[in-house]
């Protein structure tokens, strides 16, 4: 569906920022040109979430995506991985509609990573701040948790090749 209309400004891509706050923390920021309630919806409804969490350029699709978005609720994402599957799962610790989500990533061998997402709306746009607190420096670097799929190397190549070709759908 093409949502770009003459009357509407073409959605421009906003800058994604990444900062390594400490040896155990990574922070990603991005502004989305929409009110927080819509951005929050895209983060909390499984059928929407699964459409963007794994970028097309990453070359993978989620096999399944279950999300029970409420405090104490669980989520489980299943990816194809080589001949088998890889699962990411955890528990929602905080669910504050349109402003804050906190969940754990429990698939790692060395403790839980806690992801905090805040939705901060100003003038119809929403600043997203995704903060990952890793149990250890090693966990962050190895990408053993959901925040950093281990096949990122492939992504790098893909992005490089996509740079020269046009977007394919």
């Amino acid at each position: 569906m093409d949502v770009r209309r003459e009357s509407e400004a073409t959605p421009t891509k906003n800058r994604t920022g990444v900062e390594r706050k400490s040896e155990r923390e990574l922070v990603v920021t991005r502004t989305v040109n929409a009110p927080a309630r819509l951005v929050f919806e895209a983060w909390t409804k499984a059928e929407l979430f699964r459409r963007w969490w794994v970028p097309k350029s990453y070359g993978q699709t989620l096999l399944s995506c279950e999300m029970d978005v409420r405090v104490g609720g669980q989520y489980r994402l299943v990816f194809p991985h080589e001949d088998s599957t890889m699962e990411f799962f955890g528990t929602y610790l905080e669910v504050t509609p349109h402003s804050r989500l906190v969940w754990t990533n429990e698939e790692g061998d060395d403790g839980k990573t806690v992801t905090t997402v805040t939705f901060d709306e100003t003038a119809g746009k929403t600043l997203l701040v995704v903060h990952d607190l890793y149990p250890s420096t090693e966990a962050l670097d190895s990408g053993s948790t959901g925040a950093m799929p281990e096949a990122l190397d492939q992504l790098d190549e893909l992005l490089a090749s996509l740079g020269s070709s046009t977007e394919t759908k």
């Binding site: 569906m1 949502v3 770009r4 959605p11 891509k13 906003n14 994604t16 920022g17 990444v18 390594r20 400490s22 040896e23 990574l26 990603v28 991005r30 989305v32 040109n33 929409a34 309630r37 819509l38 951005v39 919806e41 895209a42 929407l48 459409r51 963007w52 969490w53 794994v54 970028p55 097309k56 350029s57 990453y58 997203l128 995704v130 420096t137 090693e138 962050l140 670097d141 190895s142 990408g143 950093m148 799929p149 281990e150 990122l152 190397d153 992504l155 790098d156 992005l159």
Partner: protein, 121 residues
């Protein structure tokens, strides 16, 4: 990730976790310095500073050279460049993800508009 130099990143991020070592890197960013000078500046023993410099050197963040009886330290650029590359790769991944999020959210906006902004919540 293994092919991307896992051990190197563990070492360099570990090295960066210490405030003194970050200070040393900052200092060396301005000018090369001897271990003695660094020890004085950071109010620690020569042995203590040697240990910190050793950690930084192992991580490839600092290189040292002995000239006469003085060991001079300077920044090892390679390490920092690789870290910057690591962060950039991570950034690109999220940028790609957010570009997809934009599409989903634009659709939600469009639907909301099409529904005449019916209050449904």
């Amino acid at each position: 990730m293994a092919q991307y130099g896992q051990a190197h990143f563990d070492a360099s991020f570990g090295a960066l976790s210490d405030a003194t070592r970050r200070g040393v890197l900052e200092q060396l960013g301005r000018a090369d310095a001897s271990i003695t000078a660094l020890a004085e500046r950071f109010h620690m023993t020569l042995t203590g500073m040697k240990k910190h410099v050793g950690v930084l050197e192992q991580a490839g963040l600092v290189s040292t050279e002995k000239v006469g009886r003085v060991r001079t330290c300077k920044l090892g650029l390679r390490g920092l460049e690789e870290e910057a590359a690591w962060i950039e790769r991570y950034r690109q991944f999220w940028a790609a993800r957010f570009d997809e999020l934009d599409i989903v959210v634009e659709e939600l906006k469009w639907k909301e508009k099409a529904n005449g902004r019916k209050k449904r919540k």
